[in-house]
């Protein structure tokens, strides 16, 4: 137990005997700062980065074209119809919002729980949240028939005296998502302030210095700064924590409040939150594994992080599995003919292949994470994370499309087929997300420098 930290620090971070450490050996304050800051300041722009950015931006261009056409012509360019009034747009919205959740969980909840291993991944996880929420936030706007009137969803003092209809979960969504986006952005920025100051000191180019200086808000690292900073940060974490649970709960209300068989279920809130964290951690791994590889951050994002993430995925995956099971169980236990049919239709109906793929991707394949060897293999982890991301997307597809396509009156049953514009917008947001991440890792410290420094034994001295 020699290598363990001293007792008044992060007690919960006592590793198992053969567990990898949170921090690689041989790090000092200086080396850590250099590793992280140099990735932004001195590292030349590589071909790989350019190609990655180009792919992202190419997809963004497609997104722009698709959105322009959408605004010109209308949502009819998508595959939606009556009965399936919601399609890719809402699927993507739920999916992206879910992905964002892992970031908030890591940065806020794990902070409150003093899980200091989170320190190396929280920064980009928060960035991921922010970009994912940005992607998600586009969809409610895009999917509207008359997007130019989107502001009617907000309770502003209209001269006509009309307000949003507060019984509608879509209005709750507006509050949930906008709060979430705001808190995430503030939390992220506040976390960045000390690091911006570090960057300001490290930067050599006067312009860079100036920009980081402005972003750093005159941070000098004084004890008073730190005192206030810590208070604010904990406070924000406290505000953000319920959001992890509430946002996806509210999103799940979009479905649970309705009477559509397959939507109208009380299990949705926990099931959606677990699913969100599930896919969020998958996305964290999909980002962390290449970043640590290409930027040589293996000593900061260690196997410990990846394994912890994998364990969380396993746990949330099981909660999701529980959700699937009880969805099916309740359909039959309820005695409702519509619910029963809905479940049978998922199993054997026209979209059955998606359902069973979802079960395979979200339920069966992730079970290999029980095997420690697989948890220790980055390639496997990366692949499984991708599988989970696809699986979670399919889950939303199944919930939205199969439920709507065959509801109460057989005469109104329909079929939904996505058009190229559906795909263009979806992949466009993936491009937006990718491009944003690529830009982020080049202009901001992708790992929190000051929080990483607290992981060093030297930091403890200071704390005394």
């Amino acid at each position: 137990m020699q290598q363990g930290p001293e007792e008044n620090t992060v007690l919960m971070d006592v590793p198992w005997p053969d567990e990898p450490p949170v921090l690689g050996p041989g790090q000092t304050f200086g080396s850590m700062t250099d590793t992280i800051a140099d990735a932004v300041l001195t590292r030349p722009i590589g071909l790989g980065w350019l190609v990655g950015l180009a792919i992202g931006m190419g997809l963004v261009a497609i997104l722009m074209a698709a959105v322009t056409y959408l605004f010109l012509i209308g949502v009819g360019i998508w595959g939606i119809n009556v009965p399936v009034g919601w399609g890719f747009a809402i699927i993507n919205f739920v999916w992206w919002i879910g992905i964002g959740h892992a970031g908030t969980l890591i940065s806020a909840i794990l902070l409150l729980l003093k899980q200091s291993w989170r320190n190396s991944i929280n920064r980009f996880a928060e960035a991921m949240t922010l970009f994912a929420v940005a992607c998600a936030g586009m969809f409610p706007l895009l999917h509207m028939g008359r997007p130019w009137l989107a502001y009617w969803m907000f309770p502003y003092p209209s001269s006509m005296g009309v307000w949003p209809q507060f019984r509608s979960p879509l209005v709750w969504d507006v509050f949930a998502v906008s709060t979430y986006a705001t808190i995430s952005a503030v939390f992220w920025y506040v976390g960045l302030v000390p690091d911006f100051a570090t960057m300001r000191e490290k930067a050599s180019h006067p312009l860079t210095k100036k920009v980081y200086g402005m972003l750093g808000l005159g941070w000098r690292g004084s004890a008073r700064h730190w005192k206030r900073y810590e208070a604010l940060y904990i406070l924000l974490a406290g505000i953000a924590t319920p959001l992890v649970l509430s946002v996806h709960t509210v999103v799940s209300f979009d479905f649970a409040i309705s009477i559509v068989p397959g939507w109208h279920t009380t299990i949705f809130p926990p099931y959606f939150v677990a699913g969100a964290i599930y896919s969020g951690f998958a996305m964290v791994l999909v980002l962390a594994i290449p970043i640590r590889h290409f930027y040589h951050l293996e000593s900061m994002i260690t196997m410990r992080h990846l394994q912890n993430a994998a364990k969380i995925m396993l746990a949330t995956g099981l909660i999701v599995a529980y959700g699937y099971f009880f969805e099916a169980f309740m359909a039959f236990y309820s005695g409702s003919t519509y619910e029963r049919f809905m479940m049978q239709n998922r199993w054997f109906g026209p979209y059955a292949v998606f359902y069973w793929t979802l079960i395979l991707f979200n339920l069966v394949i992730p079970q290999v994470l029980w095997v420690p060897k697989i948890r220790a293999n980055t390639r496997w982890l990366f692949l499984i994370s991708l599988v989970i991301l696809v699986g979670m997307w399919l889950e939303r597809f199944i919930i939205i499309v199969t439920s709507l396509s065959r509801d109460f009156l057989p005469s109104s049953w329909g079929h939904y087929v996505a058009t190229r514009w559906d795909y263009a917008v979806f992949f466009g947001t993936i491009g937006f997300f990718t491009a944003a991440i690529f830009i982020f890792i080049r202009i901001m410290p992708a790992i929190s420098i000051f929080e990483m420094r607290t992981l060093l034994p030297e930091a403890e001295v200071k704390a005394k």
């Binding site: 209308g74 009034g85 997007p147 969803m153 307000w163 509608s168 879509l170 309705s258 509801d407 009156l409």
Partner: protein, 1014 residues
């Protein structure tokens, strides 16, 4: 660098006038008065036509020839993009000036109603036309007309769109070039002068069937002026079989009329009397529904149908027997033998039980039974039906014979054949075609086009520039019945005066004016022609008063044809040679239920209305029985080639439950090439394999030549039991969508519709129940009366300015009709029971749509309507997702045409025209409710029962829809809701709909019940 052209000034100023050129023109214009507007016109310079085109776009070609529907949609999309830009353009000032002299009776904002009649074939459909400030906007049935009783059919409802159709022919042409009426009359005068010399032996007139008495008198005058001339009437869906059948039975032409209100037993032999277009349909629908009311208990009529292709008529039958068309005659003979009307042949073994029970039933109801043959059955079947009706004592009771309604009955196919022969032998010098399109629809074996091209002078008068117009010298643009004076007779013989509701939109000439130019002044007005004919013929004294009364009422009172005593000869009716052969694949030709013979192909409303039974739209699928399809290895959307005596045509397959085996049905009227932007290149033209000797049925070879044809089929799923779903799936019957019983069970247990069905009470809600203290609107739809004819859909579309979306969008599930008629099958695919369920918005009291709208765009009114606030809608579509009835319709794209000026005139000014991105749905015709409420308030009284009627209710020929105030216990709707047959759709959801349904009660023959699927 190239220099600017020095001729620039010339380009701006139109070309110089060549005086020589003008003089030359003048010299050539020898005959008749030639007018010119300016010298440029006379010189026929390009500049002039350019100017004309810009100044009078009405006369310009509105659309470049050859633009396909797809191009049309593209341009629609482009115009949408431009529509966004118009917001930036300053609109020209448009002063709105009040009338200086207010025309009598016109109060702005108040519609006027005019009674008229729509000529349809030889028969008139009585109509009442709504007019807003001089623009007709809606056609409905005339409730006072004895043959109409207030209902209407799809053709009458859709005729308003025909009138405003921008694709209608708008100008007289000679060899495709613009010309004038005077130019035509001059030419005609010349041609007629030479005909006069030969007593008109080279003059032939080819027209549609003439039912108008004025036209008949003109025919006589033409005959008198040109004794050797011939007037041929031809319609592809003619009633030659009916005429020949009457001749066979009675030795003369007679009109057959059925008195269904007296009928206890109805038997049809392929007679589709409950579908739009059948003469007397409106009357039959109403009387049929009246006799099918289960409250009549034992007096409820029983209906047997023997038919060769599934129709909505036989969907109402208690016992339906699908047989190949060629086998109907054999069955008819067997039944005739059974009832003692000759005949003789025995029925096939598998039909014997049916025939025996039927015969027993018929004989038990002598004097109250009726046999109705179909127009497509050979004359022998008609003769047998006449004989049966006579033997059953139906004549004079349930069947009435009268003189023909047609003015000049003719064996039309034979007459056309003779005409073609005469043309080919060079006897015809002048051919006038009026209201007919023989190049498209004449029998294929006549090769009409090749013959017609031999006629030295060909003239066509028609509403559209159709396939025939391309091959005539002169094309005269006609007038729609809403633009002209005329007259016509209903199926019972009652005369109606057709009065114009608007001046001809394109300065067309009516048929009367066209024909008068043969014998009198070409400038005689239609009004004078018709009025002159009626002078002295109106019953009663004062002509002016009678004339005005006839115009006011929409018919000339007491002019129905009197019953005529005829006697059928029965026995020894020669068997017809209908090519029936047990082995070969039979092809039957049927009229399309919506676009009829193809003349209505350019009507988007009709094209988009799902056809009865199949619920397909925008296509004429080849119907085949699922059984035969399996045997032939054919699946939905496979394309087959049908070969009839060497003539081939392709068509896509639609396996249709209830279709007889070893037979295919093809529908006529599609595959047009010159119908207009809507109707061009839609579907397949089966006239190409229809010959004169086998106009209704023949045999063919079929072979698969392709697959993957996409159909527009707005109804998702038609089986109410789970025939199409995987085994073990939750049965759909648990949803209790259709509730039904046999008459016996209904009498024993009138509450059958509510037994074993969960029905939450009004206390099952978290909110306090709203008290509707004033008005409380509700609707009942009697599924026993509904005949699935879809008239309500077209009526709703016309009333509520509902756009047409086209086949592609329908295939994507984006049809916009607010009202749909679900057709459900139950039982196997061989002969399933069929149920029709019209589904408008259910106007739930606990509306699931209202709670989920984020902006409050759909809200509840104090009268219980679920109102849609279009202006407030942002288009999240959540309301539609949450609507269990899926009655909401979303403008996914800009479906509405905001550009075409004609459509602006056509729209109902009382109803908002919705744009892109907005949800819409049935409003219970809130504009009519408001109008009724305002009237009542002004008169300081309550709204009377029946004062507010919805468009669907008004249109329904069967009277299945009843609407009114539920707070008034004496209203019809309240009384119906109190009946035990009344039930709510999906009532276990506790949505508490205001629209409810009256359960189906069937009246099967107990002798047959065990073996037949009920």
């Amino acid at each position: 660098m190239k220099k600017e052209s020095p001729n620039k000034s010339e380009a701006v100023c139109p070309s110089k006038l060549e005086l020589v050129q003008i003089q030359d023109k003048l010299a050539r214009a020898k005959s008749g008065p030639q007018y010119w507007r300016c010298l440029e016109e006379l010189a026929q310079t390009d500049g002039f036509y350019e100017m004309l085109h810009r100044e009078f776009p009405r006369q310009a070609s509105v659309w470049p020839e050859g633009a396909s529907r797809r191009d049309f949609m593209k341009l629609m999309s482009a115009s949408l993009a431009l529509a966004g830009l118009t917001a930036c353009v300053k609109q020209p000032l448009e002063p709105i000036v009040p009338y200086v002299r207010q025309p009598e009776e016109i109060v702005l904002g108040k519609p006027l109603f005019f009674a008229s009649a729509m000529p349809f074939g030889a028969y008139a459909t009585p109509v009442l036309v709504e007019s807003h400030e001089g623009r007709p906007t809606k056609v409905d049935g005339n409730p006072e007309h004895p043959a109409g009783l207030g209902g209407s059919d799809v053709f009458a409802q859709a005729s308003i769109l025909d009138m405003y159709d921008p694709d209608r022919s708008q100008i007289i042409t000679y060899l495709g070039e613009m010309n004038t009426w005077s130019g035509f009359s001059t030419t005609l005068k010349g041609a007629l002068n030479s005909q006069k010399a030969v007593k008109g032996s080279g003059l032939r007139i080819l027209s549609h069937t003439v039912g108008s008495p004025t036209m008949a008198s003109l025919m006589d005058q033409v005959q008198a002026a040109y004794p050797q001339s011939k007037w041929v009437q031809y319609e592809p869906l003619n009633r030659d079989n009916v005429r020949a059948g009457a001749k066979l039975a009675f030795g003369q032409y007679v009109e057959t009329r059925y008195n269904l209100e007296k009928a206890d037993i109805i038997l049809t032999l392929d007679g589709d009397f409950l579908s739009s277009g059948f003469p007397g349909f409106l009357y039959y629908a109403r009387s049929f529904a009246a006799r099918r009311n289960p409250d009549l208990k034992e007096k409820m009529a029983r209906f047997y149908a023997i038919e060769s292709t599934p129709t909505n008529t036989a969907g109402k039958a208690d016992h339906r027997l699908p047989v190949r068309a060629s086998e109907v005659e054999q069955l008819a003979r067997a039944i005739a033998a059974g009832v003692g009307a000759g005949g003789g042949a025995a029925a096939k073994p598998e039909h014997q039980k049916f025939v025996a029970a039927l015969v027993k039933d018929l004989q038990a109801h002598r004097g109250a039974a009726v046999v109705i043959p179909g127009d497509n059955q050979p004359p022998a079947v008609h003769a047998l039906a006449h004989a049966m009706n006579q033997a059953l004592g139906a004549t004079g009771n349930t069947v009435i014979y009268t003189d023909p309604v047609e003015a000049k009955p003719q064996e039309q196919t034979a007459a056309l054949k003779e005409l073609v022969g005469e043309i080919n032998s060079g006897k015809v010098d002048l051919l006038l075609i009026m209201g007919a399109n023989p190049v498209y629809d004449a029998p294929a074996d006549f090769d009409f086009l090749a013959a017609m091209d031999k006629v030295p002078l060909r003239v066509q008068h028609s509403l559209y520039r159709d396939e025939t117009s391309e091959h005539v010298h002169w094309h005269i643009n006609g007038t729609h019945y809403l633009e002209e004076w005329g007259d016509a007779r209903a199926f019972d013989g009652t005369y109606s005066i057709v009065q114009p509701l608007i001046a001809p939109l394109y300065n067309g000439k009516s048929e009367y004016e066209f024909i008068v130019s043969l014998i009198g002044s070409p400038e005689t007005a239609g009004y004078d022609i018709v009025r002159k004919y009626w002078q002295g013929k109106m019953p009663g004294g004062d002509f002016d008063a009678q004339w005005r009364k006839a115009l006011n009422d929409g018919f000339v009172a007491n002019t129905a044809l009197a019953a005529k005593s005829v006697s059928a000869k029965g026995a020894n009716i020669p068997a017809s040679n209908n090519g029936g052969n047990g082995e070969a694949m039979e092809v039957i030709f049927r009229r399309d239920p919506m676009i009829y013979d193809g003349s209505r192909a350019n009507n988007g409303w009709l094209q988009e209305t799902p056809k009865p039974i199949t619920n397909l739209c925008w296509d004429n699928a080849v119907l085949i029985s699922p059984n035969t399809a399996n045997k032939q290895g054919l699946a939905t959307g496979d394309i087959i080639e049908i070969e009839v005596n060497g003539r081939k045509q392709k068509g896509p397959i639609w396996p249709q439950p209830g279709h007889p085996d070893n037979s295919i049905t093809v529908f006529l009227g599609y595959g047009r090439t010159k119908a207009g932007r809507v109707g061009n290149d839609v579907g397949f033209d089966f006239y190409q394999i229809r010959t004169s000797d086998a106009a209704w049925m023949t045999t063919a070879k079929i072979s698969k030549v392709g697959s993957g044809y996409g159909f527009a089929h707005p109804q998702g799923f038609q089986y109410i039991d789970h025939s199409d779903l995987p085994k073990g799936t939750e049965p759909l019957s648990n949803r209790h969508i259709i509730r039904k019983a046999t008459l016996q069970d209904f009498i024993k247990n009138p509450n059958f519709a509510h037994e074993g069905i969960e029905s939450p009470g009004p206390e099952m809600t978290l909110y306090t129940n709203y008290q509707y203290t004033e008005l409380k609107w509700g609707m009942t739809i009697d599924m026993n009366s509904c005949i699935g004819c879809k008239t309500c859909i077209v009526a709703c579309q016309a009333e509520n300015n509902i756009p047409v979306v086209g086949k592609e969008q329908t295939m994507r599930g984006r049809q916009m009709q607010w009202l749909r008629v679900d057709v459900y099958y139950e039982g196997g695919t061989e002969n399933p029971s069929v149920y029709y369920q019209p589904v408008p918005c259910q106007q739930c009291e606990n509306a699931p749509c209202e709670v989920v709208c984020p902006v409050g765009a759909t809200v509840h009114s104090t009268e219980g309507l679920n109102d849609m606030v279009y202006n407030r809608c942002v288009g999240t579509r959540y309301c539609s997702n949450n609507c269990p009835y899926k009655v909401r319709r979303f403008n996914f794209l800009l479906f509405q045409d905001f550009e075409t000026p004609q459509f602006k005139m056509m729209r109902n000014p009382e109803v908002s025209v919705r744009s892109r991105g907005v949800m819409e749905k049935c409003t219970y015709c809130v504009q009519r409710i408001t109008a009724g409420r305002i009237t009542a308030e002004k008169e300081n009284r309550k709204v009377r029962d029946g004062e507010v009627i919805t468009a669907c209710q008004q249109a329904c020929p069967a009277g299945a829809i009843v609407f009114g105030d539920l707070n008034d216990p004496n209203s019809r709707v309240a009384k119906l809701k109190a009946q035990q047959r009344n039930y709510n759709l999906l009532e276990d959801l506790n949505t508490r709909p205001r629209t409810s349904y009256m359960a189906v009660v069937q009246n099967p023959n107990p002798d047959l019940e065990q073996s037949e699927p009920s």
